[in-house]
Assembly symmetry: C2
Homo-oligomer: 308 residues x 2
Amino acid sequence: MYRIGIDLGGTNIAVGVVNAQYEIIAHHSVPTLAQRSAEEVIRDMGDAVETVLAKAGLTAADCESIGIGSPGTCDSEKGIVARAYNLGWFNVPICDILRERFGIPARLSNDANCAALAETVAGAAIGCKNMVLITLGTGVGGGIIIDGKIYAGMRSAGAELGHTLLVLDGEQCSCGRRGCWETYASATALIRQAEKAAAEHPQSLLAQVEQMTGLAVFQAADKGDAAAQAVIDRYCVYVAAGFTDLVNSLAPEMILLGGGISRQGERLLAPIREYVVNNCFGQKDGAVPVIAAAKLGNEAGIIGAAAL
Amino acid sequence: MYRIGIDLGGTNIAVGVVNAQYEIIAHHSVPTLAQRSAEEVIRDMGDAVETVLAKAGLTAADCESIGIGSPGTCDSEKGIVARAYNLGWFNVPICDILRERFGIPARLSNDANCAALAETVAGAAIGCKNMVLITLGTGVGGGIIIDGKIYAGMRSAGAELGHTLLVLDGEQCSCGRRGCWETYASATALIRQAEKAAAEHPQSLLAQVEQMTGLAVFQAADKGDAAAQAVIDRYCVYVAAGFTDLVNSLAPEMILLGGGISRQGERLLAPIREYVVNNCFGQKDGAVPVIAAAKLGNEAGIIGAAAL
């Protein structure tokens, strides 16, 4: 049996068909053109599903389900995208529309949750019962898997892990609160921290960087720049402190790190592991999880949506 | 069918038999005398079970299970008390011993988890699928219920919610970490905050208190003492900030407040609710849970253990 996965993004809609091993056997992508109405976008999404089915030599009847990974807040029980600001979507009953068109079950979850689920069925966390995926990007995204299933709580509004505290009354967060983890540990925050350090150390390599990026900070540190290394050291503490909170609250078997910055691999993972084992409840005798990089990258959205 | 619940504390062992409605129909209590060996304590525990069965006119065969709520870190899967410092217990296979003696299933969980479970079967959260109980006492205890069952994660070591961050690198916590929620929001922390305020405001009513307690702070505020009221206002922020983290991470339907201080009721609950709705993700459109006081008090331990 096959499954269809749709990764709905602000820029592109990626659609794939996966087989029983969650391998993508056919793939198609179309622009979202999010300024249009939700109805138009969902019609294109349906057309893309037909294209990908044709590529795979299948019909909808050969598929068990269609899954959608959407940005924003999704009510998985009702199959409704409650709020997705970057799409301009509010209370869009996407599952009803796709179920009607294709005659198979349609399921919905937030993209961060789908990415976490994908890692458990086909990525770095296969067979893991309880795990958390943290994606460092513009913000800090979280996906929680409990008992092999996405956990998102009431009206699927939970797992906003980037919006738990690192510092009460600390830096202003876009969510309205102050001191959220995301304001210290996102890739955006790393860039901000590096820009501040560059201004404070005009002689540093960091200060020579024209367009600051996460990668540029690591490259400057690689060349022996002390200012860049100090930024990275502190940034690792920010990320690891949030990981420690996850250990103490959820004691997952595994915490995976995703997002572009996770490509730094052991540069980031080794200091995070060290901090977690030294700071979690019970220290080395505590519930120290496996901490590793996510594996699936761009395919996670389709695979996770298909696995819903 | 009946169930046996054992609330194992550092001072007393309370044993009860509950009926299908989780009403305690017989009760017996013996001193723990924790300086003895675990074997002796567990033998007394078994004797207390026999006493309570006799009081109820039942035998073990009339009961579905024996549940034990223990302090410390419990491995529920293995039925072993892994570490309970106040008992001096390490890797005590309590379930095996009681199962052998009574011939019925024996189950184990940490006391904070049992208290949370008790509220869902017979207290303030009956029928609640996902809820969290926070107990403010010497520390900040947490119990997480997901899908009607205790969630404790790997080796049952999770739900140490008092040891998630409020302030990175903040006040020293007994767990070794700095800035844990518990160092700001426990009843002990409230007393410390009040003592500091009393020293800073020697003219305040608070400064006249001989033996500082949580209750004394509320009483001084009731008499119009500004210093005491300021301490309470800030303390409510500390408690509520942690509640907000729970909303953003777990989106439970309900968060219950337990511990002696929860007897302050609306004095504490109203400002907490206001803070949570203003600070949680999505604010009033977010997953705002019911926030209320726990109901079961001292009986929670027996009832929760019986419900395991």
